[in-house]
Symmetry: C2
Subunit: 106 residues, 2 copies
């Protein structure tokens, strides 16, 4: 997907990040937001990635607004390694909304 | 808690962020990470906050390592507004680990 080889439903992209709909959505809105730079997980974030990490959170806000879930609310999640539920080792943020998210969060 | 008036179990702090254990933990490790600057939610993040937003993610990595859950794994979450499950309107990140987190995430 990074290289554009597999078609997917892109909802946002710029030079450093892109976002598309999860193919197995767990909420009416369920989007994955991903940096183009390959970073395995939060465990690999260092100071050179701080700006990009911040951009991911600012972009989540933008996407939530575009999707009309900024006011109703949404949950943003990074899973890291096995206990976190990470299955794809290119860091990605889940953005879920359009329904009341329960607690605990998994 | 921001002003230090209410005692809580601080696990990390520096000049811009601090972290403490959730009083109603949903996993063996459940920590809240908070910027000292008052920001209501992800919806209030703008470019002036990008660096701080990035610092939150880099600090999550540091805390996960300190807690010994970096390799086993962990989940990091921001809740925004009602559907997200936000109840305290000072932006905070949940860091959960020490058990297998389920899917969907709430």
């Amino acid at each position: 997907m990074i290289s554009g080889e597999i078609p997917c439903d892109i909802v946002y992209e710029n030079e450093s990040v892109f976002a598309f709909r999860d193919i197995d959505p767990k909420a009416p809105t369920h989007i994955l937001l991903i940096p183009r730079k390959h970073i395995r997980s939060i465990n690999e974030l260092g100071e050179p990635e701080q700006n990009l990490a911040g951009e991911l959170l600012l972009t989540a806000k933008k996407i939530a607004k575009d999707e009309g879930i900024d006011e109703s609310g949404f949950r943003t999640i990074f899973n890291t390694n096995s206990d976190g539920g990470q299955t794809v080792f290119h860091i990605h943020m889940h953005i879920l909304g359009g329904r009341k998210m329960a607690w605990p969060p998994g």
